[in-house]
Symmetry: C2
Subunit: 328 residues, 2 copies
DNA sequence: CTGAAAGCGCTTACAG
DNA sequence: CTGAAAGCGCTTACAG
């Protein structure tokens, strides 16, 4: 930067001000500096900026696993939105363990990120609010009421309602439901949506049709086996997420039950693998990529002092080949 | 740090030296400093360290998409290994575009990462070597001969050989092959392994059985359709990766061809979704997570001035339910 | 509008 | 073995 200043015949302060747009500078000096900058191919050192200005142009992102189909897509969206403003994401994984998440958060604080985006996780609201005192925070996929935290959440209830309604409209009356990990509000809200869908169609909620899962393929398989072994009759299964649905597909196929001819299956999230399962899953589309973008935009707004609000896209149903009208 | 120095009654220099183990310090001062550190809950500011010492304790990782099942797993391994030594990964996505990769690399250089791990990609060897002059580099999934770059590559040829041999040993003689994106050496090496497997069994290589794909599900589907439409006879398909295999599974099912009863299918990579496809895929296991760890360890070694070498786990076959002995 | 100066929190030769 | 000092490359009050 010193070189730029020299070449342009101004002080480093001026260069800095131009770079940051932090004060108005006479047009001629601006021009001189700008041309010096690109003739020297200068670009400011973010590390020094971080130390001097207290801003690192980096945003911490607490995810659970970078490699999950769900979180992975959100990360892509976040990355894309941040890049537009030259921020870089620092992804850290919590692996669904509170202690790991805490360590990861501490690491982010240490690294002096300018803000943090939290993707769900196991950290308590209190805990999160504590961190939010140190740094701007936006939480995706979870709703937290606190002035310091901006949260964006999916309309899980409505999503599950759409899925269930889709099934009832196709004539299904005996619809099983594979619950997610009820430690998460998502799981609870989705279950609620299912219930609502059943009631809305004037059907009875049958507890025997509701079985536990944990948002994993394995959980979906076990759930289907349990359902089948119990002898309850059902013609469709609504699942708390696509992973469970994919497990369900496998379990059904092993028992020689055809989807959708014998049983319809609907997933939730509309994650990539759902599009290529056999058969491709009808699923509730959350537009996770867009949601990630929205979260990043809210963060960027916060950093600018705006109080921008973003709405997440409404869930909609992606109908593919795993659901079918009930024919008797 | 100034506070720590004061409390411990030493100079900041000494504190720094203890923190970094960069010179021997008398035991009593060490003890004093250490206790001051934890009574003050001090932890050094990495940003300042970065500026002063030229080291940021961060490693750039050029990946293609954080959300790919293949790269995602490698990232997890990298993250885990780096964490052990308090390094943090900076993940940037190249999206398989040379220009994006270059921008991402430049960003990493700007951020003064201490090293960079490159996951395959489209950057030319020359280009990579150029960057390697600025920073230690390890490349995973690609072999580059250069003193400045350490590269770790999978034994793709042997992997494909194992897959093909598995099929021939089960009596298959008409084995189709779905090629990957031949811009990548992987695709070429895997194809070579297939050829070797066919020859090894004393069979003829039939060009009609070899069809193009691009490592995607879509590509796998199209390939199968083409094969089927062409009327060539085959009883098994070996695929260049799991995504293609998953696409193949779907295409076969749509034509009412049962796997493995009518046709056996074998994948490559043994990525998570392969374990829960319908049916679960037999696949060549690359232990990508371990490979990520290995790459990170090599990087860490480099940083310490060691010339540690790591060998990637040998590919092995995971036999599941998509392959079966040919019965006539 | 613009400079000179101090400072961000460390590290690292340089002396001793 | 250990301090004092300079410096890493910026930003930001403080004056003018």
């Amino acid at each position: 930067m010193a070189m730029v200043a020299e070449v342009a015949g101004v002080s480093p302060s001026t260069v800095s001000r131009i770079l940051n747009g932090t004060a108005r500078v006479s047009p001629d000096k601006t021009a001189a500096v700008l041309s010096a900058i690109d003739s020297l191919e200068f670009s400011p050192n973010p590390v020094a900026r971080g130390l001097a200005g207290g801003r690192t142009a980096s945003i911490g992102v607490l995810t659970q696993t970078v490699s999950s189909p769900f979180y992975g897509e959100a990360l892509l969206g976040i990355e894309a939105a941040l890049r537009e403003e030259s921020y870089i994401p620092l992804f850290v994984s919590g692996h669904w363990m509170e202690s790991t998440e805490r360590m990861a958060m501490d690491e982010l604080m240490l690294r002096r990120v300018d803000g943090v985006i939290v993707l769900a996780g196991r950290l308590s609201d209190r805990m999160l609010q504590g961190y939010a005192k140190q740094v701007p925070m936006v939480v995706l996929g979870r709703s937290i009421n606190s002035s310091r935290v901006r949260s964006l959440s999916f309309d899980n209830r409505n999503g599950a309602l759409l899925a269930t309604r889709h099934l009832t409209e196709m004539g299904h009356q005996r619809i099983a439901y594979i619950v997610g990990d009820t430690d998460h509000d998502d799981a609870v809200e989705r279950l609620e949506g299912y219930r609502e869908g059943i009631r809305e169609a004037g059907l009875q909620i049958d507890p025997e049709l509701i079985t536990n899962g944990d948002f994993t393929e394995q959980g979906g398989m076990l759930a289907v086996n349990r359902l089948l072994d119990s002898g309850v009759r059902f013609t469709a299964i609504a699942c708390s997420n696509d992973q469970a649905a994919i497990g369900a597909l496998l379990a059904l196929s092993r028992r020689n039950i055809r989807v959708p001819d014998d049983v319809s299956v609907v997933g939730f999230d509309d994650v990539m693998p759902a599009r290529y399962s056999t058969p491709p899953l009808s699923s509730v589309q959350l537009s996770i990529y867009e949601a990630g973008k929205a979260a990043a935009r809210v963060m960027l707004g916060l950093l600018r002092g705006e109080n921008r609000s973003e709405v997440l896209p409404e869930p909609r149903l992606a109908i593919r080949e795993s659901t079918q009208r009930l024919h008797r």
